[in-house]
């Protein structure tokens, strides 16, 4: 039997993303999905797989690609509730899209991306399955932080969202910033991605375990929404929706079983730098994410 192919899917949010959870939290009527053990935002594997399937079906309907109805069923499995056919598991195993870096407002340089030792360690594990070497994950005190760029260390402390964090520069964080800017954001010499590539290289901050849980909890976007009736008065609401902010970077492991040139090529084509629609509120312009695929070897 052919060995499964390991892939790493990096997602970069073009617009706010609402991958919805099941229960309201405090005043948030429609919260985003979060890990039960850490509180970190996440996009469940089942939600991500649904989004990938939708993209493949759209490509099949549009024509001009490798995707056929048979290949969609082979890669993603039989559709839920499909009548008259034996259910079959798909060949593509889709893991949770875990948080890599999230933008937080700052009093310098508009915003910075924050990450944590745990987030980078998880990403390092994913890179290891591809056989790729990674920079070391530096340790940091719970109430301090490390910066990729020198601009963050001109003062003793920096304001990040609701937190004030002392920062110092780190060569390891700088290396991680360079790796992620290239793999998740895009090439430096591309006029479309160049600006944010350069910003990511300068503005990645690794913060300690006292700070990160507060930032991932409080630096998401909250939108108050209402529904109007014909008389333009409020019929329902207000209700509050939570979004993962634009510029967030997530990573998910993908495993393709029994790969063929056709299935591997089709997955590569689907996720090779194209925008992907993930989560809800699509008609409100939400959930657009750039997808980039890293493969073993």
């Amino acid at each position: 039997m052919t060995r499964p192919v390991e892939m790493l899917l990096l997602l970069y949010a073009e617009s706010p993303v609402h991958a919805g959870a099941n229960e309201s939290i405090d005043v948030i009527d429609l919260p985003i999905q979060r890990e039960a053990s850490t509180g970190y935002p996440v996009i469940w594997g089942q939600s991500l797989k649904g989004a990938l399937r939708q993209a493949a079906e759209d490509a099949q309907r549009a024509g001009g690609s490798a995707w056929t109805a048979q290949l969609v069923r082979q890669v993603f499995g039989s559709a839920v509730g499909a009548d008259g056919e034996e259910s079959a598991a798909g060949l593509l195993m889709v893991g949770d899209a875990q948080l890599v870096a999230m933008p937080v407002p700052a009093l310098r340089r508009t915003f910075a991306w924050v990450t944590s030792g745990m987030a980078l360690a998880r990403l390092a594990r994913k890179y290891r399955t591809l056989g790729r070497p990674v920079p070391p994950v530096p340790a940091v005190a719970p109430d301090r932080g490390l910066a990729s760029g020198a601009a963050w260390t001109t003062m003793d402390e920096q304001v990040l969202g609701p937190c004030v964090v002392p920062l110092e520069t780190s060569e390891d964080v700088k290396q991680w910033a360079g790796r992620l800017a290239a793999d998740a954001i895009g090439p430096a010499d591309d006029p479309v991605t160049g600006h944010f590539h350069d910003k990511f290289v300068q503005d990645l901050l690794l913060v300690g375990d006292d700070t990160m849980p507060q930032l991932v909890r409080e630096c998401t976007e909250l939108n108050a929404r209402v529904q109007l009736d014909d008389g333009k008065t409020v019929a329902h609401g207000p209700f509050y929706s939570e979004y993962l902010p634009a510029e967030t970077v997530l990573a998910a492991s993908l495993t393709l079983r029994e790969p063929s040139d056709v299935s591997r090529g089709a997955v590569r084509e689907l996720l090779g730098g194209a925008p992907l629609q993930v989560g809800g509120d699509e008609t409100l312009g939400k959930g657009l994410m750039w997808a980039r695929l890293e493969e073993a070897g």
């Binding site: 959870a21 229960e23 890990e35 649904g50 939708q54 509730g81 492991s253 699509e282």
Partner: protein, 359 residues
């Protein structure tokens, strides 16, 4: 060919979901619960990792990576450990002479807390392997002990497997919600640094190199796999005063007689602390493919004695007890309810000794 032990660590990439045995179909049912991985779950993962079947799989054992890169196994709290509600002091259920002569459907082997304790409740938690050896060696006072200081169970009520409720929704071709296809399922998310271990008996002369990732449980969840060294079962005592042998189930057991195992020759079952039985559903996609049959034809549902159950035996001869313990420790206590359940990790028994209630 001689068999040797090889330990494998399965580290879920994100969550684990193992069905609790009830049927579930999106569009028909609206919620699914999950349970901790069964022995059959990890035996299937071991088979996939090796690409062939070992002689026997023993597990799963929940384990935590230590600061030095090793592994500390954690075992479910023994069912004979109880405490007054909210009390930091616990005691052990032991045969009570005061209850002798009371007739019940369970026979005469009734266990009770010390007479002065009053109302008690069961204790939940995970006991580290090093402390568990103290329990097996009978060094804990049944009449009362400080729970945290003596057994050091993990976390103050925090489980290393955190339940995570997830909703799923099927969509129509028009990108709207498909009516009746909203469901909820529970996954378990291990805390960082926690994995499931399996102890595997493999022939010494063959190549047994694991390859991962492997499917682990349902819903397409994957686990990374690695061979680990320096981990072992908690040690058993070597002497058994008065022939008193304690049997602790490290994994769920499926026996022909339900909760009651086959008593070894020369021994009496003095008492047992057995928690609520759990339904075990197993299925074999490989067997279905081999027979060209539907997966549902390989599904079996049985009731298991849960891990953590404790049985107190008394042998008529301490030497005979020691011989049985040497043979039985960290092995399946059989016979199983069906073929291959013992080699799939069900009913792994850890052997200890026990003292009377006044000790």
């Amino acid at each position: 060919m001689t068999a040797v032990e090889r330990w494998l660590a399965f580290t879920p990439r994100d969550t684990v979901t193992v069905r609790d045995g009830r049927s579930f179909q999106a569009g028909t049912d609206s919620s699914a619960e999950t349970v901790r991985p069964w022995p059959s779950t990890i035996a299937g993962a071991v088979r996939t990792a090796y690409g062939k079947e070992p002689e026997a799989v023993r597990g799963p054992v929940l384990a935590r990576r230590t600061g030095t890169g090793g592994w500390e196994p954690y075992l479910p709290m023994p069912a004979d450990v109880v405490r007054p509600p909210g009390s930091p002091r616990a005691c052990l259920l032991r045969p009570d002479p005061e209850l002798a002569g009371i007739a019940t459907d369970l026979g005469e082997g009734l266990l009770a807390p010390p007479a002065t304790t009053g109302k008690v409740e069961e204790v939940q938690g995970w006991v580290p392997g090093a402390r568990f050896a103290d329990y097996l060696h009978g060094t804990i006072r049944p009449a009362g002990f400080d729970l945290d200081e003596t057994l050091r169970p993990y976390g103050a009520g925090r489980d290393p497997l955190v339940p995570e409720r997830r909703v799923g929704l099927a969509r129509t071709g028009g990108r709207t919600a498909r009516e009746g296809f909203l469901y909820q399922s529970t996954h378990l998310r291990p805390l960082d640094g926690w994995s499931f271990l399996a102890c595997n008996d493999v022939p010494e002369d063959d190549d047994w190199t694991p390859q991962g990732p492997t499917p682990f449980g349902g819903r397409g969840r994957l686990a990374d796999v690695a061979e680990v060294s320096g981990v072992d079962w908690p040690a058993a005592p070597t002497t058994f005063p008065d022939g008193r042998v304690l049997v602790y189930l490290a994994t769920p057991a499926l026996w022909p007689e339900g909760w009651r195992p086959e008593t070894p020759a020369g021994a009496d079952l003095v008492g047992a602390a057995v928690p609520t039985p759990r339904p075990v559903a197993t299925a074999s996609p490989r067997e279905a493919r081999r027979r060209g049959a539907r997966l549902m034809s390989t599904v079996a549902l049985r009731w298991a004695v849960p891990a953590g159950a404790v049985y107190l035996l008394r042998f008529d001869d301490p030497a005979r007890a020691a011989a049985w313990a040497r043979e039985q420790h960290a092995r399946p206590w059989g016979p199983p309810a069906a073929a291959r359940l013992d080699t799939a990790g069900f009913g792994i028994a850890l052997i200890g000794t026990w003292k009377g209630p006044g000790s």
